[in-house]
C-alpha cells in the first residue's frame, strides 16, 4: 500500500511539471505582455519598463520559469492585477461559497440518481424506459443557459418562491435561502443524464450470473438490487463521482454568474475578462493538483469497495 502510494505520488511529478510548463508557455508566449496590461492605456514607456523590471519580465525565460515555480511552491502569487487583492486570499474567501452550492448538488444528484436508475434498469425495454430515454435526449439538447434563464424567471421572478439572486455571510442563510434555487435547477438539468449513465452501469450487472443465482435461491428483487447489484456497480459510479469531484471546486461558473454567488468560478471568469493572469494561473495549477489528488483517492477507494481490485 505504502509502496503503491509512493509510486503514484512519484508518477504525479512529471504531470505536474507538465501542467506548470503548459500554463507558463501559454501565458508567456501566447498571452499579451503583462506590463502593457498592468500599465493600462496611458502608461509611459518608462512606467512599462519599470513594471517589467518589477515582475522580472526583463530576465531570460528560464529565470522567469524559476520565479513562476517559486510562486507555486510558496503559495505567494502576489496580488490580483485587477483588484489588488492577494491571490492566496481569493481561495480562502471564494471557495466556501462555491462549495455551499456545489456540495449539495453533487450529493443530491448522486443520492437521487441511484434509486431512479435502479428503478429504470428493472423496467428496461418498457415504455417508461423508452420515454425516459427520449426525454433525456431532448432535455439534454437544450442549453443549460435556457434552464437557468427560464428557471430564474419562473421560480424567482414570477412565482416568487425563491430570491432571484443574492448571497449573505451566514452559511445557514445561504444554504436555506439562496442556494435552493441554483441547486434545484442544476439537479433538473443534471439528474437525467446522470440517471441514464447509472442505468447503463446497472444494466451491465443485472445480466450477470450472480444475479441469477440470487434469484434462484429466492432472494427478493429489492434485496438483489440494493445489496448485490448496487455493490457491484459501485466501481463505475465511484469513477464517475471521482471525475465530477474536481469540478465542484471551480463550481458551475454559469450558476455563479447568474445567481451572483461570489464563488471561485465567477472569479475565474472575471479574471479572464480582465486579463488578470495571476488569478487564472493560480486557479488552474492548484485545481490541477487537486484533480490529481482526487484521482489517486478514487483509485484507493476502489480497493475499499471491491477487495478484488489489486493496486499495482
Amino acid at each position: 500500500m505504502a509502496a503503491y502510494l509512493l509510486r503514484r505520488l512519484w508518477q504525479m511529478v512529471p504531470t505536474l511539471l507538465g501542467v506548470v510548463l503548459l500554463v507558463f508557455v501559454l501565458f508567456k508566449f501566447f498571452g499579451g505582455d503583462p506590463a502593457e496590461i498592468l500599465g493600462g492605456l496611458n502608461a509611459s514607456p518608462e512606467q512599462v519598463a519599470s513594471i517589467r523590471q518589477q515582475l522580472g519580465l526583463d530576465q531570460s525565460w528560464w529565470v522567469q520559469l524559476g520565479l513562476f515555480v517559486k510562486q507555486i511552491a510558496s503559495f505567494d502569487w502576489g496580488r490580483s492585477w485587477a483588484t489588488n487583492e492577494p491571490v492566496a486570499r481569493l481561495f480562502a474567501t471564494r471557495l466556501p461559497a462555491t462549495l455551499t452550492v456545489m456540495l449539495p448538488i453533487l450529493v443530491l444528484d448522486t443520492l437521487l440518481a441511484i434509486p431512479i436508475a435502479l428503478f429504470v434498469a428493472t423496467v428496461r425495454g418498457s415504455l417508461t424506459d423508452r420515454v425516459l430515454m427520449i426525454a433525456t435526449t431532448v432535455a439534454l439538447s437544450i442549453s443549460f443557459l435556457v434552464y437557468i434563464i427560464v428557471g430564474q424567471y419562473l421560480f424567482g421572478f414570477q412565482l416568487g418562491w425563491f430570491p432571484v439572486q443574492g448571497w449573505s455571510d451566514s452559511v445557514w442563510t445561504n444554504l436555506t435561502v439562496y442556494a435552493p434555487l441554483p441547486v434545484l435547477l442544476a439537479l433538473l438539468v443534471g439528474l437525467a443524464p446522470q440517471t441514464r449513465l447509472y442505468r447503463s452501469f446497472f444494466l451491465d450487472e443485472v445480466g450477470q450470473d450472480y444475479v441469477r443465482t440470487a434469484r434462484a435461491k429466492g432472494l427478493g428483487e429489492g434485496l438483489i438490487l440494493w445489496r448485490h447489484v448496487l455493490r457491484n456497480a459501485l466501481i463505475p459510479i465511484l469513477t464517475n463521482i471521482g471525475l465530477a469531484l474536481p469540478g465542484i471546486f471551480v463550481g458551475s461558473f454559469l450558476i455563479e454568474v447568474f445567481f451572483s454567488i461570489p464563488g471561485l468560478g465567477r472569479e475565474v471568469l472575471l479574471a479572464v475578462n480582465r486579463s488578470d493572469y495571476p488569478v487564472i494561473q493560480a486557479v488552474t495549477i492548484y485545481v490541477a493538483m487537486l484533480t490529481m489528488a482526487i484521482n489517486l483517492l478514487t483509485d484507493l477507494l476502489y480497493k475499499w469497495v471491491d477487495p478484488r481490485v489489486v493496486l499495482k
Partner: protein, 341 residues
C-alpha cells in the same frame, strides 16, 4: 466449376444497409440535412443575409400573437397654451435657416417599421427568424470546425502514439495526462484569456482543449491494429510507416473517428453557446445561439419571450436530431456497441 465468388459487402455498404433500417435515424438524418441546406443558403447570403436590418418596431411581437396594443400616448400630459417666443434669446436662431437649407439637400425616407414579424423582433427591431437562421449557421459552423480541429489533432497524435509507442508514445501519454489533469472548463478559460475573442479563436480554443478523448480511442485502435497481419503484410511489401498508418490502418478505424467527430460536434455546439453567452465567443457584430440567449435574458423580464423561444427551439431541434443521428451512426458503424450505451 464453383460459382463465381460473390463480392462481400464492404464496411460502408453494410453500415448504410443497417442505417437504412433505422427509421428514427433516417428521420433525424433528414432533419440534419434540412439544417445543412439552410446553413449553406445562409452562408451564401441567400437567406437571412439582412439579419442586421431593423425591419420591425423594437420588440415587435410574432405574427401569430398579433401587434401590441398601442400604448397610451397620454402618459405625459401635452402642455397647452401658447409657445413662448425664444428667438430673441436663442443663440442658435440665426443659423436655423441655413441648416434647413442644408438638410433639404438630402432626401430622407421614412421607413415603415413592421408591427409584427413572423417570429417577432429583438430590441432593435431585427427579425428574430433571420437572426435564428444566421445564428444556426455560426453556431453549427463553430461546432463542426472545432470538432474537425480536435479530431485532426487527436487522430494524428493517437496514431503516432499507438503505432510507434516507445519514447514518442510516452511523450504523448504525458501530454495527455497534463491536458486531462486540468478540468476542461479551466483549460478553456486559460486559453480564452490568452487568445482573445472571435470565431476563429473559439474554434481554436475548443479544438486545442478537446482532443484528448479521441486521442485515447484512436491510440487504442492503432495499438490493436499495428500488429495485425494485414499491416505486417503491408510492411513486408515495403510500405512506409506513414503509408501503413494512414493508408492501411486509418480506413479501418475511420468509423470510430466519425462517431467521435459527431459526438464532439454536439458538445462543442453547446460549449460555443455558453462561451458566446459569457462574451468569450463570437464578436458583437455576429450572431449565434449564445448571443441570442444573452439578449433574451433581459428581454424575458419585459415579457418578450420570442427570441428565447426561437433560439431554444432551433438549437433543441438541431441538437436532438444530431444526437440521435450520432446514435444511429454508431449503431450502424459499430454493431458490437448496439445497446451498450
Amino acid at each position: 466449376m464453383s460459382a463465381p465468388l460473390q463480392r462481400s459487402e464492404g464496411v460502408w455498404q453494410a453500415a448504410w444497409r443497417r442505417f437504412r433500417g433505422d427509421r428514427l435515424g433516417m428521420v433525424c438524418g433528414a432533419v440534419v440535412l434540412a439544417f445543412v441546406l439552410l446553413i449553406v443558403l445562409s452562408a451564401l447570403g441567400l437567406v437571412a443575409g439582412g439579419w442586421q436590418r431593423e425591419r420591425g418596431v423594437p420588440n415587435a411581437p410574432p405574427g401569430f400573437v398579433g401587434p401590441r396594443a398601442a400604448e397610451g400616448a397620454a402618459a405625459v400630459a401635452v402642455p397647452r397654451g401658447p409657445n413662448a417666443d425664444l428667438s430673441e434669446v436663442d443663440p442658435l436662431a440665426p443659423r436655423y435657416a441655413e441648416w434647413d437649407a442644408r438638410a433639404a439637400a438630402f432626401r430622407s425616407v421614412e421607413v415603415d417599421k413592421l408591427q409584427t414579424l413572423p417570429l417577432g423582433a429583438d430590441k432593435l427591431g431585427r427579425d428574430v427568424l433571420a437572426k435564428a437562421v444566421k445564428g444556426t449557421e455560426i453556431s453549427v459552423f463553430v461546432g463542426v470546425m472545432a470538432a474537425l480541429v480536435a479530431t485532426l489533432i487527436g487522430t494524428l497524435l493517437g496514431a503516432v502514439a499507438g503505432f510507434f509507442g516507445g519514447r514518442s508514445g510516452d511523450l504523448l501519454e504525458w501530454l495527455y495526462n497534463v491536458f486531462t489533469s486540468i478540468p476542461g472548463i479551466l483549460l478553456i478559460f486559460a486559453f480564452a484569456a490568452v487568445f482573445g475573442r472571435g470565431i476563429g479563436t473559439v474554434v481554436l480554443i475548443l479544438g486545442l482543449t478537446g482532443w484528448t478523448g479521441i486521442y485515447r480511442l484512436v491510440r487504442a485502435e492503432f495499438i490493436k491494429h499495428a500488429v495485425r497481419d494485414y499491416v505486417r503484410a503491408a510492411q513486408a511489401i515495403g510500405a512506409s510507416a506513414a503509408s501503413r498508418m494512414f493508408r492501411h490502418i486509418l480506413p479501418n478505424v475511420s468509423h470510430v473517428i466519425l462517431v467521435q467527430l459527431s459526438i464532439l460536434t454536439v458538445g462543442f455546439i453547446k460549449a460555443e453557446v455558453i462561451l458566446s453567452y459569457l462574451g468569450l465567443g463570437v464578436p458583437v457584430d455576429q450572431v449565434s445561439w449564445g448571443t441570442m440567449l444573452a439578449e433574451a435574458q433581459s428581454e424575458l423580464l419585459l415579457g418578450h419571450w420570442w427570441q428565447l423561444a426561437a433560439a431554444t427551439l432551433f438549437m433543441a431541434v438541431f441538437v436532438t436530431a444530431f444526437s440521435l443521428l450520432t446514435d444511429a451512426l454508431r449503431d450502424a458503424l459499430d454493431p458490437k456497441l448496439r445497446g451498450a450505451e
